[in-house]
């Protein structure tokens, strides 16, 4: 059985027929597990974009998702914070639990879920506001008004995103005056400001130059001490450099999921090997 979704505000209760057969569903969280994905399917209209995904994502790790264009990487990562439901005519079926809780449960407000899950997009997308107001956006929508508290959050988040020293004297300047790489770190800082548990990154460096890319990669290494990070990347060296676990997607399926070192040095599946050695993709 599948739930039909058209618009975010009209999310129908997602009743998964096979829930009963999955004892882990609501029975509390396994330790160290952030996301539990079981038999997840997703359709854009008639197009079956995610097929029977099984994937467990662990705490304080960097999980990379690789695969050729159109294989469903973005779709999967957008399902983790339910942003994919902004697309009209999306249908989802299957089980997806965040910290032991079914994210499609109608009693679990999507706003609350997203407060736990930060997201960094492919193209830097700061708001047309000042640097300060960009960072303060998240805390403000969650009701923090106190100027001192906001000041502290802004500084802490900018330091966390390794941007503080570059912008501390121009917090009131417009965010569009920053370079592309700085804007992307601003977006990371913006998502740190809501103190998330997980950070989703969809090709965060694909629009950046090599030096900005390096900075963000270093930042990710720093962030994983506190956060669980899931990153989509087209750059296999990047995945090998920064991730602990890697999932290889192909045509909406997970072909292989393993420790990064294992997946890159000794892939179990021929298709994985073909992809990482550049024979297709």
């Amino acid at each position: 059985m599948m739930a039909t979704k058209t618009k975010e505000t009209k999310v129908a209760p997602l009743t998964v027929g096979s829930t009963a057969a999955m004892p882990t569903a609501e029975s509390g969280e396994a330790k160290g597990v952030v996301y539990e994905t079981k038999d997840l399917n997703l359709w854009y209209g008639e197009h079956h974009a995610l097929k029977h995904i099984h994937l467990t994502i662990y705490e304080n790790k960097v999980t990379a998702i690789i695969g050729p264009s159109g294989c469903g990487k973005s779709t999967y990562i957008k399902t983790l914070n339910r942003m994919v439901e902004l697309v009209p005519n999306v249908r989802i079926a299957g089980h997806l639990a965040y910290r032991g809780r079914n994210i499609f449960d109608p009693s679990y407000p999507v706003e609350q879920l997203r407060t736990q899950i930060g997201m960094v997009f492919q193209k830097p997308n700061p708001f047309p506001k000042s640097i300060y107001d960009n960072i303060a956006y998240g805390p403000r929508i969650h009701g923090i008004r106190n100027k001192k508290v906001l000041d502290e959050i802004v500084e802490k988040s900018l330091r966390g995103a390794a941007l503080w020293d570059e912008v501390k004297d121009r917090l009131r300047d417009h965010a569009y005056g920053l370079s592309g790489g700085q804007q992307q770190r601003l977006c990371i800082a913006r998502c740190l400001a809501i103190e998330p548990d997980v950070i989703l990154m969809d090709e965060p460096t694909s629009a950046l130059d090599p030096i900005s890319t390096l900075k963000i990669e270093e930042l990710i290494q720093e962030l994983k001490k506190q956060y669980s990070i899931i990153i989509v990347t087209h750059n296999m060296q990047q995945a090998a450099r920064i991730s602990d676990k890697t999932a290889f997607f192909l045509n909406g399926e997970v072909i292989e999921y393993a420790e990064t070192s294992k997946l890159f040095s000794n892939p179990a599946d021929q298709r994985t090997e073909d992809y990482i050695t550049g024979r297709f993709g």
Partner: protein
């Protein structure tokens, strides 16, 4: 390609281009000339009649004493109703259609109707206002009845302008907001509206200037064209600039043609001012993404 053939045809293409350029230029100049003639004619007629007294006097039977005060103030009263009512209704509708409404046939139906409403002759709105506001609701020939009628008239224009402004806000900004756990309303209020506001204001001011210049619906409502006092509330009767001008042009005395011309100059000045504000807003906030 045959180089010879190309150079043979070259001359014809260049001539064609030159002729068309001349035609387009002529079309532009023709429109400008017509406008200039009209304006200079009116201004010439108004010279000597347009002074401080003209703005300060009530209309009168004697042309030397006639003034525009009641029309000018009346138009301001009208704007005081039309601006908030049409802006709130129009922007509200635009937000609903763009951000909340499901993209289904019903929405498409509403959308088509709103677009069609912009083409409905203003006199039809006058009849509507006469039936509903003047008679059914018993508001009489008042500022309120006229204001509500005019609000209906400009409502579709404001909706369409506001929708365009909302659509111009990049989707990635909404996504950034939703991804941080913002509700729909928070996203609209803190991201979409601030970004769309300049476009909305521009549209609203242009719509408002249309309402100030409209005459036909008010004639249908039976708004008087000659009033020698000011309204003291929204339920009082009143007159507006275009009606006042209409009244003067209908008078037999030659002098009143000059009074009417002075009135037209005032009305045009008023409208040009409003449009300039709209252009200023548009230029100031252009290209922000």
């Amino acid at each position: 390609m045959d180089k010879l053939l190309v150079s043979k045809r070259m001359k014809g293409r260049l001539v064609q281009n030159a002729i068309l350029q001349a035609i387009f230029f002529f079309a532009t100049v023709l429109g400008l000339i017509a406008l200039m003639l009209l304006l200079s004619h009116v201004v010439m007629q108004a010279i000597g009649w347009l002074d401080g007294d003209f703005l300060n006097n009530f209309p009168s039977r004697r042309p030397e004493e006639a003034g525009m005060k009641s029309g000018l103030i009346g138009s301001l009263w009208l704007m005081m109703i039309v601006a908030p009512v049409s802006f709130i209704l129009g922007v509200g509708t635009a937000i609903y259609l763009e951000e909340y409404a499901l993209k289904n046939r019903f929405t498409a139906f509403i959308q088509t109707n709103i677009s069609n409403l912009t083409g409905v002759p203003s006199i039809v709105f006058g009849l509507l206002g006469l039936t509903i506001f003047v008679r059914e609701l018993g508001l009489g020939r008042s500022v309120l009845a006229a204001g509500l009628t005019m609000s209906l008239l400009v409502f579709p224009v404001i909706v369409v302008a506001a929708q365009e402004a909302i659509r111009a806000v990049p989707q990635q900004l909404r996504e950034a907001s939703y991804a941080m756990g913002a509700t729909k309303w928070q996203t609209i209020c803190r991201v979409v509206l601030p970004a769309a506001l300049p476009g909305m204001l521009t549209g609203a001011i242009l719509a408002l200037s249309r309402a100030v210049g409209e005459t036909a619906p008010l004639v249908v409502l039976g708004i008087p064209t000659f009033i020698a006092y000011l309204p003291s509330g929204v339920l009082d009767t009143f007159t507006v600039m275009p009606l006042q001008i209409y009244n003067w042009t209908g008078r037999p005395q030659e002098e009143f043609q000059h009074v009417a011309a002075a009135g037209i100059v005032v009305l045009l000045g008023f409208l040009i001012m409003m449009n300039s504000v709209a252009v200023l807003i548009r230029n100031k906030f252009q290209k922000r993404f």
